[in-house]
């Protein structure tokens, strides 16, 4: 990544997205402008229904806005084809979900290796890096285990390792601790903080968990789909 030196990693301008529910139109995100710099650790806070997931999906190029633009390292996401957006997510983004979303038929190691296979890495390289990442998240002993035999916390660790597989510049995490007990949630948060510090990868969480918010260096608050505040903490 040589482009965008000092520039924003992800930059949203005037994003709006609404859903059609029968006759009515529900605005989920309204005129949001937001910019994330490399290496940031940002919480996106707001009550349920405030538009966090919708905004995260737009910033992560999983969805397209009705209005506005998302630029990733200077490239306009709207100008890209589905294939190009897929490749960009594969190479520059990581995703962590509330429900972990591991591939059930793949072992922990294979789950982590999957995005690398998509990027065309050799089998040897995939194995080496998958093992390194699983070691980094503390799961070296679970390489060959399938997700259904792992605890919630362990699954989320595998998911984080998978998100980092292709050395992304940012990881999007939608309520990553919502399905975990508070102790495990804290461990997962500490892990992400550590990876953020050690590897310089940016994190953007959608959350309404006070604990998560307390660990963030920057908190963006959404209210009814619009940004109510954006402050360092």
């Amino acid at each position: 990544m040589t482009a965008a030196t000092g520039g924003p990693l992800v930059e949203a301008r005037g994003l709006s997205r609404s859903y059609r529910l029968g006759e009515s139109v529900v605005p989920a995100v309204r005129d949001v402008s937001l910019s994330i710099a490399p290496g940031e650790f940002v919480a996106l806070r707001g009550p349920s229904g405030s538009g966090k997931t919708t905004l995260l999906n737009l910033l992560g190029l999983l969805d397209r806005p009705d209005e506005g633009t998302v630029r990733v390292e200077g490239r306009d996401g709207e100008a890209l084809t589905e294939e190009e957006r897929s490749d960009l997510r594969r190479d520059r983004f990581g995703f962590v979900f509330q429900t972990f979303n591991l591939i059930p038929v793949l072992s922990a190691e294979e789950n982590v290796a999957y995005p690398m296979a998509l990027a065309g890495a050799s089998a040897a390289r995939r194995q080496e890096r998958a093992r390194e990442l699983l070691a980094a998240v503390g799961l070296s002993v679970k390489l060959a285990v399938r997700p259904d035999l792992l605890s919630g916390g362990q699954r989320q660790r595998v998911a984080i390792a998978r998100a980092l597989a292709n050395a992304p510049s940012i990881v999007f995490a939608d309520e990553p601790t919502a399905n975990l007990d508070s102790h495990t949630a804290e461990e997962i948060l500490d892990l992400m903080r550590r990876l953020n510090a050690e590897r310089g990868v940016a994190f953007l969480f959608a959350t309404h968990d006070a604990l998560v918010v307390s660990r963030a260096r920057r908190v963006v608050t959404l209210h009814d789909g619009a940004i109510a505040s954006d402050a360092a903490s």
């Binding site: 969805d63 997510r89 429900t99 979303n101 995005p115 998509l118």
Partner: protein, 407 residues
């Protein structure tokens, strides 16, 4: 991890459903391979039988093609001994059989029945054709045939004669006068086709020539080729050699002569095509249901895979691979099933009904046709790919956000 390995794991995950789908393909494939083999074998039998009755090639006067003679031997080949020698000189020719076609009336004094006669050279005729094998009582003609005649069983019954009895044949000679000659019944043949059985008479060319007062003229020469000979090239050479010898002839192929062969072939292909179409529809419908269920069940997984960077084409490939893996697994199991069924059928001794135009059935004997198995694999893989295509395309086109939110 390859698409196929991933497909296999996803199939193992849904054991019961995958097993059912593979079972459908297994039965479809086995039915295809067995029916295909049976039909290929029927063609082969039909072809061999046809060639045994009409020869590989026939040499006839050019004017005789597509036209009925107004008088017996009107378009015959004169100087038949020389014509036979000319044709027999070709290196690919195994045998040249003279034939004289004639009609007449057979009588025992008490009763007269019209017949269809053929004058033959008994030695080579016995060696090359099926007729001697069809003798059900008495013997086939021997030597040059002498006064001997062979009658179809139907004709013999109508005349109430048996081997050893004397019969009188009456026929019109080429110049239009009526002639009669006695013959001795040597044997009765069941020529398998009822209409012919009621009219069939065979006698040596010598006796027939005397009856018809036709000298050394025959209706045609029936040519049998050596195994492996090229039919087309042999026909060309024969036409040239005969023309050079002064005969205005054409060489006809067995296929043109046995019109019913093509009809039976079309019938078989029609039956096989119908059965095949039914099989394909069953496999496509069940596979489309199974794949649609798989896509619906794994919607969130599809959303996840798309989110982390799988292209739409990658999703499509994943589901297509599952269809193809089902097809291949079904073909492996289907091959085993087909081989077992084949062995069981061949050991059973079940009698098959007679093919069209024949009166006798045969015990079932299913040969192994690797081509039918190869075509079966191709058909099943294609069928499953087609059945998986639309569910796979739907999966590839799912909006990521909706797929991720799917519960």
């Amino acid at each position: 991890m390859s698409s196929f390995a991933l497909a296999w794991r996803n199939l193992v995950r849904q054991k019961r459903r995958s097993f059912l789908m593979i079972a459908v393909v297994t039965f479809g494939f086995a039915a295809f391979a067995l029916a295909g083999g049976f039909i290929a074998q029927s063609f082969e039998g039909l072809r061999e039988g046809t060639i045994k009755s009409v020869g590989d090639l026939q040499i006839v006067d050019r004017r005789a093609v597509g036209k009925a003679e107004e008088a017996t031997l009107e378009y015959g080949l004169p100087d038949a001994r020389r014509a036979r020698a000319l044709a027999g000189a070709d290196p690919d020719v195994a045998a040249v059989l003279p034939r004289i076609d004639f009609v007449g009336l057979m009588t025992t004094g008490a009763k007269s029945v019209p017949f269809l006669g053929v004058g033959v050279d008994p030695g080579p005729e016995a060696a090359a054709t099926l007729v001697p094998e069809l003798i059900v009582s008495g013997k086939y003609l021997s030597g040059d045939g002498g006064d001997g005649v062979v009658l179809g069983t139907g004709l013999a019954a109508a005349l109430n004669v048996k081997p050893g009895d004397r019969v009188t044949m009456m026929a019109t000679t080429p110049d239009g006068s009526l002639n009669a000659l006695d013959g001795i019944v040597t044997g009765l043949a069941d020529v398998r086709i009822k209409e012919l059985n009621d009219r069939y008479v065979a006698a040596g060319v010598g006796l027939v020539s005397r009856l018809l007062q036709s000298g050394d003229t025959v209706s045609k020469l029936v040519v049998f080729l050596k195994p492996g000979a090229n039919e087309d090239r042999a026909a060309e050479r024969l036409a040239k050699a005969m023309a050079a010898g002064g005969y205005p002839i054409v060489v006809r192929h067995w296929r043109e002569l046995a019109t019913f062969y093509e009809q039976v072939k079309l019938l078989y292909i029609g039956i096989f095509g119908f059965v095949g179409a039914v099989l394909v529809v069953i496999v496509i419908l069940s596979a489309a249901i199974v794949m649609t269920m798989a896509v619906t069940e794994r919607t969130r997984e599809i959303g996840t895979l798309r989110a982390i960077g799988t292209r739409p084409s990658g999703i499509r490939t994943m589901f297509l691979a599952e269809g193809v893996v089902i097809a291949l697994a079904g073909c492996v199991a289907g091959t085993v099933l087909a081989l077992v069924v084949r062995a069981a059928l061949n050991a059973s001794g079940i009698m098959l009904p007679p093919p069209p135009g024949a009166t006798h059935g045969m015990p079932i004997n299913v040969k192994l046709y690797p081509l039918a198995y190869g075509a079966g694999i191709l058909a099943m893989v294609l069928t499953m790919a087609i059945a998986s295509y639309f569910p796979a395309r739907r999966a590839a086109r799912l909006p990521i956000v909706e797929a991720l939110a799917h519960v």
